[in-house]
């Protein structure tokens, strides 16, 4: 199962690099769709059908929102003239990225933490898998974990979603209330 996911990840990286370097904003937005829809296939290969259903709809709605934002603006990015400060800025961002890569590689060097597709890595997982069906009565274990064992998590998510929607409606209101 490792090879197909690696190939898909390669496609995702190529799409991400293209979408960050494209001059046209519309083609950048469309090519970030490559990343999202490849993620759907990865979820299906990783035996997570719930996530695949959510991701394919959410990616479509995100594309609709992004295209609606981009369409009535100046889409073409003008190339910038290089001023003296630019190289320092690039060097700084490259240094930050190298430091990040070093930290992540150090984390990756703990071999018992990340076994490839081996045993369960989270400590609670065996307890959840053994007890979820009988304790909650739900045949779908993800729903059982989501709404029974981790109910506070779902409540917090609903609150964040509510707050974000209130923020969007407030920011996009043009006329003040009388």
């Amino acid at each position: 199962m490792e090879t197909p996911i690696s190939i898909l990840l390669g496609f995702m990286i190529i799409g991400a690099i293209y979408s960050l370097s494209a001059r046209d904003l519309l083609s950048a937005v469309i090519s970030v769709g490559i990343v999202g829809y490849s993620l759907v296939i990865c979820f299906l290969l990783l035996k997570a059908p719930d996530l695949a259903i959510v991701q394919i709809v959410v990616e479509t709605i995100t594309l609709v929102i992004m295209i609606a934002v981009v369409l009535d603006s100046t889409r073409i990015i003008r190339p910038q003239k290089a001023k003296g400060f630019v190289y320092f800025r690039y060097a700084l961002s490259l240094a930050v990225i190298v430091i990040f890569a070093g930290v992540l590689l150090y984390m990756w060097s703990a071999p018992d933490l990340l076994q490839v597709f081996g045993d369960h890595t989270t400590r609670m997982s065996t307890a959840y898998i053994e007890n979820a069906a009988n304790a909650t009565g739900s045949a779908n274990l993800v729903t059982g974990v989501l709404f029974d064992f981790r109910g506070y998590d779902t409540l917090g998510e609903a609150t964040v979603l509510f707050t974000a929607v209130v923020g969007v409606v407030t920011i996009l209101r043009l006329k003040g209330k009388k």
């Binding site: 609709v64 709404f147 029974d148 929607v165």
Partner: protein, 142 residues
């Protein structure tokens, strides 16, 4: 949009809506649940708005309804969860309804009710975002 898109939308939107309801109601048996079904419901609404445009659907006069539905479903989720404080072992998010047999449609206690509340909330939230964007673009054009 053109007449072809409108006709196809008229046929297909009901099917998408029923599919979203199916995913929500069967959330504790099959893949899916409140989040997935709510996203599909929002997709049906977004398709309708994109195909028919604003003047026929009278969006501006109805922009309060998604916010009302979202607030009511979040309130229902909270009330359902906090009834559990008064019953049984007195815990928030207590699953106090009878569990039933694993695999039946009416089973798993509170979980189908939670699924319905979250599904309505997610659908209303996504539709509210799209609606706010479309109304903003219309007002900015004037």
């Amino acid at each position: 949009m053109s007449e072809i898109v409108k006709t196809v939308t008229k046929i297909i939107v009901g099917v998408i809506f029923i599919y979203g309801l199916y995913i929500i109601v069967h959330g504790h048996l099959t893949p899916g649940g409140g989040f997935a079904g709510g996203a599909v419901l929002a997709g049906a609404f977004v398709l309708l708005v994109l195909a028919y445009g604003s003047p026929e659907t009278k969006l501006k006069s109805q922009k309060e309804y998604p916010a009302i539905f979202e607030s009511l479903s979040l309130l229902a989720f909270l009330v359902l969860a906090s009834i559990g404080i008064g019953l049984g072992i007195k815990v928030f998010f207590n699953n106090y309804l009878p569990k039933g047999i694993v695999g039946d449609l009416v089973s798993a206690g509170n979980i189908p009710l939670y699924n319905m509340a979250i599904g309505i909330e997610v659908a209303a939230a996504m539709f509210a975002i799209i609606l706010a964007l479309i109304i903003y673009k219309e007002e900015a054009r004037e």
